[in-house]
Symmetry: C2
Subunit: 445 residues, 2 copies
């Protein structure tokens, strides 16, 4: 696939791979997180945090390469006891969530819907949009013993809603089903599905010609060409041969997509949520629905929202089955592009709407009173701390603060204030005792 | 000081010292963070995040015991390069902030007000309310070269506003000034202030009798009794002897307290913000204002909001002076008590206000449409995924969801829905096309 490259957000930070935002970027980050939270909560997902630190054995049980895991060590353990030696920073939010659910199952209400917007750590080589410390935004729904397929549709619709609300432009959530893919592989003559699934997962990166050759190498006599023709058909669900024996899996995929499209409010012809049989996902633990998402405007980001159904993720941790389905937005990577777009790129730097200027330092107590008064009226208000009035107003404007309240001795004596619109450059005199109401009206206008 | 002990929040978690909240507690945590953010932003503080990981040398330069720092290590470095060996998890938010300001000074608008609500890590022995991973909520204002004393008052008023808004009951913010304390120590005959300051900082823990003896051991012939009489006087500022030579520092402390009280809107007689000459703070880098805060209802927590003025924190990192003042709420410790209080202890578990019940699984597509409709009207709506209707409603009620929308075949045919108030037990039939409006009204009532 020929990926056009768009500019990537320049980041600061002191340690390679551990980026930091400048204040303007941070405002964009907070804005995005607020939007995602709002959508996740509108579906009834509850916020959760797990410890950043897990037992190393919990993490390594899930097949991650150990070189990608950051262990902890105490720098200088004088008492000889290094309580940190068997713990490490988590590399995703799914494995810790599964551990949490098994440990606290008696105190949770199932199905348990949780969201988690937090950083994870991986010791990978950093490059554009790929960091060693990055945010993921996960939703997962976990059932106690069983979980209806509607949960899969809901996760897709919820993530769709979040991406839509973020304003990322056109995007495609491509949905497949592992059982369907395994069935088609069996039909094509592959005795074992997993190795072929890993190859199909890489196909868009390495090209289909090479993938076809590698698939042919896996199973002599397999119907590789016929398989690929089905997987890549323009209307793949209709291209599935009647003798493939995948009717149940196909019905499941159709249900998930139809329900998800309905919950997302998609119109006919909108392909934002659609079936795509080449979607495989590398991870072993997926057992049904699998999803990947690419942006039309920034395909070079790869999948910015992925996940699927897992029946047995927590099985190694306890006796009971806790089937789940989850999707994760790769927030740091998404923001490496999104923070360069509007409105993120030009959000006001300050959360304050008003600055109380300091025209005369001897009136500081009066300014403090006025600022307290405005905050009491629900108006976020910054106090200028001193310096030349012109610089104060220039800095406030630079920070996106719209109005300045300017009070000199004359205004103090008259119990008034000059209210200046820093964007328009206009100003008016307003009585002090209704200043909050005056500014409230101006901010609404 | 005789500290009564109140019950401490029981926490879960897989690794000792790295606690996790149950969903109910997490809701309380989120509620508290939302309140603090709101107050911090109303003063114009901007959100900031720094990397969780810092160069080890940056951290150790600031005098923390190295055994309290968690370094990182790659578990299994196949390529021989362990890029993690000189980095460690931050132990506070102040040192990284100072590093960030120096590095990005050219791109910040000064005075730079930032807040940061994030975890830090310390390899301490865990006990009730003391964790190895815990949240701090910091505000700091940093000047470029100089910073007016009003910034100190503002930080105190802002933290006061946050604690007040959290509803922690009565509390006392005790304010002192390091220059004043050093001046009094000089007057009392101590050639060097810092060792005496450390003793005074510990006085409330070890008792004043023992402190007096230790102070006397520091400087032969020092006026220890006279000093302690001043420090502990009921009206300490009035008890300062005229010949102490601390007029400037005293004036500064008075200004900070008076301005802070005004900005906080305190009435005469309200001692929530008051001078206290025994407040010293252990850390070396404070140079002026110092603050500690204790709750009337939970003094055993110790200081839950502390900080002060530092003129030279960033001096070791660059050529320029960036004086600052900051306060930090020890959120994890505070919440170990606060989450047991109302309203935190009984917040609804789910952010959803409405559950669309699943009375008849064949109508699932209709339920999906109804849920989408309600969310479109701004109503957070959970879908029940199946199971017995009674269990669905019981679980929704357990999660604090107020209303259930119940649709069977009869309602579907009539394009209506049964709206049930799960708290009151009452129910009504409502037409489907105005269901959002109906529920909107019920939720407002």
């Amino acid at each position: 696939m020929n990926k056009p490259s768009s500019p990537s957000l320049p980041l600061v930070g002191d340690v390679s791979g551990f980026p930091e935002y400048l204040p303007q970027q941070q405002r964009g980050f907070e804005h995005a997180v607020g939007i995602i939270r709002g959508v996740y909560e509108s579906f009834g997902f509850v916020p959760l945090e797990t410890s950043r630190v897990e037992r190393t054995e919990t993490l390594l049980a899930k097949g991650i390469a150990s070189k990608e895991v950051y262990g902890l060590r105490r720098l200088n353990v004088e008492d000889g006891e290094d309580g940190s030696k068997d713990v490490a920073l988590r590399f995703d939010l799914t494995v810790p969530m599964a551990r949490y659910v098994v440990q606290n199952q008696g105190q949770l209400v199932f199905p348990f819907r949780r969201y988690q917007i937090q950083p994870v750590w991986r010791g990978e080589r950093p490059k554009a949009g790929r960091y060693r410390q990055f945010y993921q935004c996960d939703i997962d729904t976990i059932g106690d013993g069983s979980l209806p397929i509607t949960a899969d549709a809901e996760a897709i619709a919820c993530a769709y809603g979040a991406l839509k609300a973020l304003g990322v432009g056109a995007f495609g959530m491509r949905v497949n089903n592992r059982k369907l893919l395994s069935g088609l592989l069996a039909w094509a003559g592959f005795a074992e599905a997993q190795p072929a699934i890993k190859l199909i997962d890489d196909a868009e990166k390495i090209g289909w010609e090479k993938t076809a050759a590698l698939l042919a190498g896996l199973a002599a006599g397999a119907k590789v060409e016929a398989l690929i023709a089905v997987l890549r058909a323009p209307a793949p669900l209709e291209a599935i041969p009647a003798d493939a024996g995948v009717d149940d899996a196909l019905a499941e995929l159709r249900t998930v997509i139809t329900q998800a499209r309905t919950m997302a409010g998609l119109k006919d012809g909108d392909t934002s949520i659609r079936p795509d049989l080449i979607i495989a996902r590398g991870l072993d633990y997926y057992t049904g629905t699998v999803v990947e998402t690419t942006l039309a405007a920034a395909p070079e980001l790869g999948s910015i929202c992925s996940g699927g159904r897992y029946e047995n993720l927590a099985a190694s941790l306890g006796k009971k089955a806790f089937p789940g389905v989850g999707l994760s937005i790769g927030l740091s990577r998404l923001l490496s592009w999104l923070l360069l777009q509007e409105p993120y790129a030009s959000l006001p730097l300050s959360p304050a709407n008003v600055v109380v200027a300091c025209q005369d330092p001897t009136l500081m107590m009066h300014y403090a009173e006025v600022a307290a008064l405005l905050r009491n009226d629900g108006i976020a208000t910054e106090m200028a701390l001193g310096g030349a009035l012109g610089t104060q107003l220039k800095n406030a404007d630079k920070k996106g603060i719209r109005f300045a309240v300017i009070i000199g001795q004359a205004e103090f004596d008259a119990q008034t204030a000059v209210v200046k619109d820093l964007q328009a450059g206009t100003q008016n005199v307003a009585p002090l005792d209704t200043l909050g109401a005056t500014l409230g009206k101006l901010l609404k206008a």
